[in-house]
Each structure stands twice: as C-alpha cells, then as structure tokens.
Symmetry: C2
Amino acid sequence: MKFLLLTFVGVVHLLSLSSGKTIYKNDISQRTFQEIKEEIASYGDVAKAIINLAVYGKAQNRSYERLALLVDTVGPRPSGSKSLEKAIQIMYQNLQEDGLENVHLEPVKIPHWERGEESAVMLEPRIHKMAILGLGSSVGTPPEGITAEVLVVTSFEELQRRAPEARGKIVVYNQPYVNYSKTVQYRVQGSVEAAKVGAVASLIRSVASFSIYSPHTGIQEYQDGVPKIPTACITVEDAEMMSRMASRGNRIVIQLKMGAKNYPDADSFNTVAEIIGSKYPEQVVLVSGHLDSWDVGQGAMDDGGGAFISWEALSLIKDLGLRPKRTLRLVLWTAEEQGGIGAFQYYQLHKANISNYSLVMESDLGTFLPSGLQFTGSEKARTIVEEVMSLLQPVNITQVFRAGEGTDINFWIQAGVPGASLLDDLYKYFSFHHSRGDTMTIMDPKQMNVAAAVWAVVSYVIADMEEMLPRS
Amino acid sequence: MKFLLLTFVGVVHLLSLSSGKTIYKNDISQRTFQEIKEEIASYGDVAKAIINLAVYGKAQNRSYERLALLVDTVGPRPSGSKSLEKAIQIMYQNLQEDGLENVHLEPVKIPHWERGEESAVMLEPRIHKMAILGLGSSVGTPPEGITAEVLVVTSFEELQRRAPEARGKIVVYNQPYVNYSKTVQYRVQGSVEAAKVGAVASLIRSVASFSIYSPHTGIQEYQDGVPKIPTACITVEDAEMMSRMASRGNRIVIQLKMGAKNYPDADSFNTVAEIIGSKYPEQVVLVSGHLDSWDVGQGAMDDGGGAFISWEALSLIKDLGLRPKRTLRLVLWTAEEQGGIGAFQYYQLHKANISNYSLVMESDLGTFLPSGLQFTGSEKARTIVEEVMSLLQPVNITQVFRAGEGTDINFWIQAGVPGASLLDDLYKYFSFHHSRGDTMTIMDPKQMNVAAAVWAVVSYVIADMEEMLPRS
C-alpha cells in the first residue's frame, strides 16, 4: 500500500507521509487514503461520460458556439458599459433557459471608466503616429494634449537613478517582458513612479509575450498624495524604437491626447446559477469566470472562454442527469478587470458560509488545450485533487501544478479555502491579452471542449465526494 | 568519381549524368565537373573568412545596426514619398562612405499613391470600429463615405454563385490563408471581381499567416473596362466575425471612408554600387533588395533586411580586401511594392548586356535564419550552386531549393539568367508582412549576420569563378 500511495502522491508528499500508516486517520476523517482513492476511482465511468459528451458527443463545440454568439452580439464588455449590462441580461436568460437552478443576479457597484478618443504622435525626431491604449482608471489630458520631451527608461531602478531628468517629461518605460506577474508592475505602478519624480505623463511598453504592433491595455493604480498623470500603453515596437533613438542621443518629443474619464460607479451584477446539492445543499463547489472584459477586441479569451466553460461544466453535468451531493455553483463575475470588484462583493455577501466551501475554481488564463490544473490548498487536499485529475487520463490532462490563485477566488483562498485554476499556453495567452486581438479567432472549439471536460470532471467529483476537501 | 559526383549533385541529376564521364565536356566548357568542384573547394578559406568576419568578427551586427539607423530615421518608405527619396539619398551617401565603387543613381518614374485618412465602422448588427488598411492604388470613397450592406464570401467561386446578391453591396472576402502566392490573388483581384458583379466596394481579409488584429496592406490592380471601386484589407478577425454573423442571418452594414488618392508619377532612383571585377569587369553578379516599403511599420523586414544584407555582402568582401574576377553589383530597387517598377526600368536599361549576367540574386523573403537558397536555372548551374552552398557548412546552411524567382529579378530569370533568392521562415515573414508590425523588433542581428554571410559567400564565389554559370 505504501508503494501505491507513493505512486499517487508523488515526491512532494514524502515528508508529510513518513510518519503514519493512514494519512488521514485522526486528522481529517477516519477514512484511509486507500478508501478515498477507491471512492475517486469509482467516478471513472462518470468522468468518461462527461468526456464523451463534451469532446465527442452532442455537446461538442457548444461552449464555443455559445461564446461566439454572445461576443459577436455584444462585443467587448468593459466595467460600467451598456454592453456588459446587456451581456449579463443575456446570460441571466441563457442560464434560465438552460434549466439551471437558482439563477439570480447579485448586485455590485462597479467602476465606470471610458477611454474616449486618444492619440499619440511622435513629433521629433520624425513624425510618427503611435498606437496607444489608455490604461484603465487613467485621467485624460487637456483637450490640446500634453506635448513634452521623452525620457526612456528600462526599469524603475533606472528611473530612480535618472530622477532629475524626469521633471516635465513623458516617461517611456521599455521594460523587458519577463513574465506577466513581474512585468505587469510597470503597467500598474508606472504612472505613480513617474509622477513621483515630476513626469507629466507615462507611456508603458505593453506587457505582452509577442507583438504585431499591438498595444495591450489593463488597469493601473494611482496612489494618494501622488499627482495623477495620464498613462497609456504603447507597443513593444515603439518602446524599443524610442529606446534606440534615445541611445543615439535623439531628442524625442511626443504629443499625447487622451479623452479618458472616470464616471460615477455603475450598477452591475454577479451572475449566479446552480445545480443544488442532493445531500449537502449548503456546501458549495464554485466554478467561475468573469463576464466583463477590456473595451477592445471581444473579450473572447479573457475571459469569455473561462466563463463559458464554467457554464458548460454545469450544462454537461445537468445533461447527464447528474446531481452532486454538494451544490455546484456557477458565478460569472463582474468587473474582474478593475481588480475583482464583483468577487470582493461576493465574498462579503457569502463569507459567513465559508466553512461550507469545499473548493473555489476560476478559469481566467485561457481555455486553449489545458496543460493541467493549478491548485492551492493543503498537501492532503492536493493528494485528493491529483487523484481526481487522474480521471482525466482519457484526454491525457492529469497534471496538478502549484499556484491555483486567481483574482476572483483569492479572497477565499487567502481565508483557507482550496482553490484551483485551469492552466494552458501562457505564451499564447499573453500574446493576445487585453489587446484588440482577443477575439473568437484565437478560440478553438476542440480545445474548449477538452477544457470544459476537465472543468466538469473536477468540479463534479469534488462536489459529489463523501467529504469536503481537507484544509490546512 | 561517379560516387562522389552523385554525392554532390543529388538524385535530381541522375538522368542528365547517366550518359557521360565528364558532365560538361563539349557542353559548357572543357572542364570536368571534378575540376569545377575542386575550383569551388579552393574557396573554402575565403568562405570561412567571410563567415568569421560576418558572424564572429568585427562586422557582426553591422547590417542590423545600419538598418536600424536608417529605418528609425526615415520610417516607412512608400513609392513616391519624401521618406523614400530621403532614404535613397542617405544610401547614396552611405555606399560612397563605405568605399564602394561606381556608386550612382539610375532614374525611374514611380507611382505615387497615398492612403490619406481612412476608417470603417460596422453600423449593424452592432457598432464596431474596424481596423483597415486601404490597398495600394485603390481609389478613395466620397468624403461622406460609402455606407452599404455587406455580402460575405469565402472564395471567388462563391462570389460568382451569389453574383445577383452583390449589386450595391460591399463585398467582404473571408478567404482562408493557403499560402501567399495563392491567397494574395484575393488582395490583387478582389476589387475587380467584386466590381464586375456590381459591388460598390470590397474589403479583403488580410493575407497573413498569423494575426493580432493586424491589417496587412499591399498592391491591388484595377482592370480596364471594370469600374474602379475602393478596396481595403480588414483583419482576419473581422473577416471571420462577419462570416459568422452572416451565417446567423445577421444583416451587416458598414460605413467605409477612404481618402486614398493616386498622384502623378514621382521621380525616384535605383541605387547602385559595385566592386568592379578584376578580370571580366563587364560580367556581373547582381545582389539586391528593395529600398521602398509599404507606408506602415518601418519596412525593416520587407525589405530593409534584404537591402542591407546585400549591401553587407559587398562590405564584407571589400573589408577582406577581395576583388572578384567579375563585377559584383549591388542594386537597391525602388518601387518594388508597386510591381517591380524600378526593376523593370533597370532591365530596360541593361538588358543589352544580358549575356554578361552570371547570376541575379534578390533577398525579399526575410533575413531571419536562412533555411537555404532558392535557385532557378539550368540543372548544371544548380549543381554548381549546390557545390558553392557546401562552403556554408560552417554555419550549417547548405540547402538549395527550387523557385529562385523574385519580383525584382524575374525579368532576367525569364530571359534565361540564373536567379537566386534567400529562403527562411515564411510563417514568420507573413505574420508581419505589409503590416504595422514590420519593424526592427522582429529583426535579429545574429540572424542577419548569418544571412549576410550566406549572401556574401554565394555572390563572391560565383563572381570569382573561372566561368559564368551555365544557362539552359
């Protein structure tokens, strides 16, 4: 048994397992791991049925087709927009028509920012119209724009070193792309750091793994006590060109015009639907994606795909006539892009029930061919999740990685609830992320089928197991 | 010897070799292939010296740095523009300062088309601002634009079948990307075919291997007797979206505004420089790329790279103190993008000397890491070129492919002169081709070093060999 156990739990668990014969005895439950393993194995036929329906059966391509219809019809869905409102109303109707239970909207006040008309023209050393996208929450410029010389830096450290040069200038950040979480600091804090040293605006190299002269927008954050200066992203290409020009000693002058404006908070909703649990209806496995997007492209990938495979997970389970012991709850978050506003409101409303949350799941890193599941939780819970993922052997997606966090589920994870995210090709994801290229063209129905199957198997089995996932 | 011979010439030559002991006896020269092979092998040290200088020596990254300086300084260089004129003047000076010989400009009258302001807005089924790029030579719309319903087709065949539906509409082509030479027919002929069936404008899915919502422009051609209607390219993403919308029965209406205008022909020049041959100065090996570009991006890849590795080839040979027996002539073409206008003029001016052209070379498919040389000519010439390419074993680029044609060298090839093109990653090339993404960001100095080495070795050795390449 120990050999078998080791086979399943892997190297990382060796330490925690070395002391006992039965890993959960007197700890989480009276059941041995072998019993849990057998319980999970008993879902083999259910998992196959879900996979068959999603990947080969009549449900194939359904999440893609549903998504295409929505995003072609309403387009991008930025926080506070009419199109987000319309999308929520359509989804409310869709979920009811799909026969899901307890379909309802939970009110949230969300930010309302609009970019308006915007442009940037390099005036020196030569005339060059630049592609830009103002960053979410940025103030605008005066109508005549801001015309100023440019200081190009490649890091915050260089900005500090050259602080005396920054006053009255437009700071251009040409930071290299390392990975999203590191490099995105330039987009989020770039304007504050530039304003602290007296800059009049900041232009930030798009945080992207690949570019065809494509600006990539996203949220940025002002700081109390620091002047609010206009800030936009520029393309990788223009950031690199200005870096080369500056290194040759060229004086660079840009005229920046931004009609960006922050409006009063708008009314919005998290959209909720359920398959109510048969035995422990008060206990919850949450599957989710966000319905809002940036205001460019179609928000098909970020996060239409995540929202629609989450809906698809419930549809598949319902279509198979399955009802898990615990409630399977779909949440389509609002205003994720503004910093998880809908998710925060949901947490405030539901946290009293936190002891009943077995697992919170979010798909917000693409729904291309999954490489596996990212998971955050106790090592014991991880062991169970690894076992559940082995049910996905028929589609060869069984890996469990670290770092299951996601903007919309972090409140729960930080409070101790196990959390999971879907992982796939991040290079591809960050090629299109927050750009005009986030459209249905990059979505693949077959890949969405597989992603939905993974999502449905994991959420169903964990919602139906005899016990909740163990916490730390 | 036969075994050795077969090793070098490959399967394709078996037939032509089966009858004789010495393949060129009484045919091209009195020399046996073994003698030619030995002659080529004697260039081993020269080839290594060129490679060392270009890839590892003091010339490394030079073509990249020279190119970056030019295209950052003047930007894109469309036919008829001031920036093309400026680029030609800069290059004229550069080539003189580089110490090349017979540097001169050969006058050419070239087309002058400007896109002006342009926009396309989908009005139904929802408001959507579309990225477009008017196609070269297209007429504009009236100032108020053209507002019309859309007919989406995926092929010329579908357009024919649905001809009665096209009258008064904007035809949108959503043809799949097969390869450039096949798919580009839609860009070139799309407006004529649409006009023939009564359309008022045409919008063509960009001819591109990959897209981040990036329109790709290029030349289009009107036809006598067919009404000239405005035509532009749209993104792959919008073409696919309109296809989906049409298949759902949505009525699509677009307002197209194009300020495009054709102006009188402009004065321009092919830019020429030489290393004059020591023994047969009237005989020529021509290396070339074009200096003009489209009016978006920087024209760094198409064809800055080709022009600059061609210059670099002469620089490398000069730096090593080499002077081939034949004249090595660099030509930087003008107005290639308008259909090889400069190249046609050059051919008219120099065709009387055609019997003295040993080889015409053009690099216009990118200067990424070369996969080899494309060659068009007699099988005997191919055998020699294969032998020459074996000198590039140190950089592992020895392959000789078919189809050496290129817009600027085709006049010569069709008249029987052997021709060669540099081949590399065409998927990458057509991801950026004629788009705003054609910038220095996609150029790689190390790859350009290798491309220049290949270009210099081939051109030098063939210019220096005892005999010209044999023709058919």
